[in-house]
């Protein structure tokens, strides 16, 4: 699987960022800005000098923002979202998203995203037992993913994944109707108390619980 990755220093140094991407944009005037920045996943996964952007899709209950859908994976772990590497448009793989960006004022704004779920998420279940049974779907992203402004760094070993959180307000075309059952959605405190919650989900919830605006 080919995934996007960028040298760590371009996230720290605005001049380096500008040199790498603004110049590339001016030279190419194409949409595949990242075609020169993709690597075999197994080669780059443990490379601490490169940061891999990933999008973390979180699904809010219809009409109740802040209640997140829980995925129970085949190995028994639980997640409150779906992590996906960025992949080039011509070679998408399961577990990746192809994101089409437009370029404005030194930043890239997402326009559309094609999602290719890995087997573990395609076969995941909601809390009411419904199997997701979805392998691919497409979303209009309306500029809500902005490169390089990610939400937090994550990795159990190297912190070399830049996580871009993307909120989805259900329904999503292709999902089974039973997924929208209220029982499948939990609030942040209930999610933090779940057993076997994966680390990325835990970090996301810790970051996004916004407790200070909920004290009464």
């Amino acid at each position: 699987m080919l995934v996007a990755a960028f040298p760590t220093h371009i996230f720290i140094d605005p001049v380096a960022w500008y040199k790498l991407f603004c110049k590339r944009f001016c030279d190419s005037n194409r949409y595949d800005y990242f075609s020169d920045s993709v690597y075999p996943h197994e080669l780059i996964e443990n490379h601490r000098d490169y940061i891999q952007p990933i999008v973390f899709l979180v699904f809010h209950e219809y009409g109740r923002i802040g209640f997140y859908h829980i995925f129970e994976l085949p190995d028994g772990t639980r997640s409150c979202g779906i992590p996906l590497h960025f992949s080039p448009a011509d070679v998408p793989s399961p577990g990746t998203a192809t994101i089409y960006f437009t370029f404005q004022s030194d930043c890239f704004y997402s326009a559309k995203m094609s999602v290719y779920l890995s087997e573990e998420y395609a076969n995941s279940k909601s809390l009411n037992g419904t199997c997701l049974n979805t392998h691919q779907f497409t979303l209009d992203t309306c500029g809500r993913i902005i490169l390089p402004y990610y939400d937090f760094l994550w990795d159990e070993k190297w912190n070399n994944h830049a996580v871009f959180v993307f909120n989805i307000y259900l329904p999503v075309p292709g999902f089974p109707d039973a997924v929208y059952d209220s029982k499948n959605f939990l609030d942040p405190v209930a999610i933090m108390r779940l057993s076997r919650l994966n680390e990325l989900s835990r970090l996301f919830i810790q970051r996004n619980c916004n407790w200070h605006v909920h004290i009464r």
């Binding site: 760590t8 220093h9 996230f11 720290i12 140094d13 605005p14 960022w17 390089p148 402004y149 990610y150 939400d151 937090f152 760094l153 912190n159 830049a162 609030d187 405190v189 933090m192 108390r193 970090l203 919830i205 810790q206 970051r207 619980c209 916004n210 407790w211 200070h212 605006v213 909920h214 004290i215 009464r216």
Partner: protein, 254 residues
């Protein structure tokens, strides 16, 4: 220093919150939390960052004996802190007074607040109690957490000035009252739950404020402040969620 043992034992207790019926609320200091409801302590964190670096403060300032320098400066909030933070508000002259003659204490900074502890103990208890009641029935929790944050910033800054001889710049606090909470380029804050399950209200103070608080720090306060490049801070993220979040904020400066 105020030494009434009853007041000390009550108001020095760590502030607790309980999550009950899908709502978060403060527990009173003598209240038993309902069964099966998660209870949290509350903390405030201060970070200081320039364009491509964080400032780390020496243990000579914090005197915690845990490590030589601290990027993350954190304090537990006690009932006394909450009562005083609610009492002072942002509209008082509290932040403009340096009070450099008072004893140093980061453990119980609220013990030194003039205007409260000049009263006899029973009156102090009433004042603090009524402040807490106001907090519990108040609606603006965001403003309250901001008050707490600035209250700890002042205590930390006052301590820094006493130990280093740095002149206390009251203009900074006057500015805060003027631009809070709008000027996000100089001051950003957020709430999160840390890796130990504590509720943390964290803030990042940027260049303009740093230069006012610690003028010429790279020259005058070399023994007390260390500049840590972002590339080095990246290596220390594992156990520090606050730092992890602010690194993301600082990279390419949002």
């Amino acid at each position: 220093m105020y030494r009434d043992p009853t007041i000390l034992s009550v108001y020095s207790k760590p502030l607790r919150c309980v999550y009950e019926n899908k709502k978060l609320r403060f527990l009173f200091y003598d209240e038993t939390p309902p069964d099966n409801c998660p209870v949290y302590s509350m903390w405030v964190e201060l970070f200081f960052a320039l364009n491509n670096s964080f400032l780390a403060f020496s243990d000579k300032i914090l005197q915690l004996n845990k490590q030589p320098y601290y990027i993350n400066i954190s304090f537990p909030i006690t009932y006394g802190d909450l009562a005083v933070a609610a009492y002072i508000g942002l509209g008082t002259s509290y932040f403009l007074e340096a009070r450099l003659d008072q004893p140093l204490s980061l453990d119980y900074p609220w013990l030194h607040e003039r205007g409260i502890f000049d009263f006899p103990p029973e009156r102090v208890d009433k004042i603090l109690h009524s402040r807490l009641l106001n907090v519990y029935t108040g609606k603006d929790s965001v403003l309250l957490t901001t008050n707490c944050l600035l209250y700890f910033l002042k205590q930390f800054y006052r301590r820094f000035c006493i130990l280093t001889g740095c002149p206390y710049n009251q203009e900074v606090f006057r500015d805060f009252r003027r631009f809070l909470p709008k000027d996000l380029t100089q001051f950003s804050s957020m709430g999160y739950v840390d890796l130990k399950g504590r509720l943390v209200y964290t803030a990042l103070f940027a260049d303009k404020i740093i230069k006012k608080l610690f003028p010429n720090f790279w020259h005058d306060y070399l023994d007390y402040i260390l500049e840590v490049p972002l590339s080095e801070a990246l290596l220390n993220l594992k156990d520090d969620l606050g730092l992890r979040l602010w690194v993301a904020h600082c990279m390419l400066r949002k």
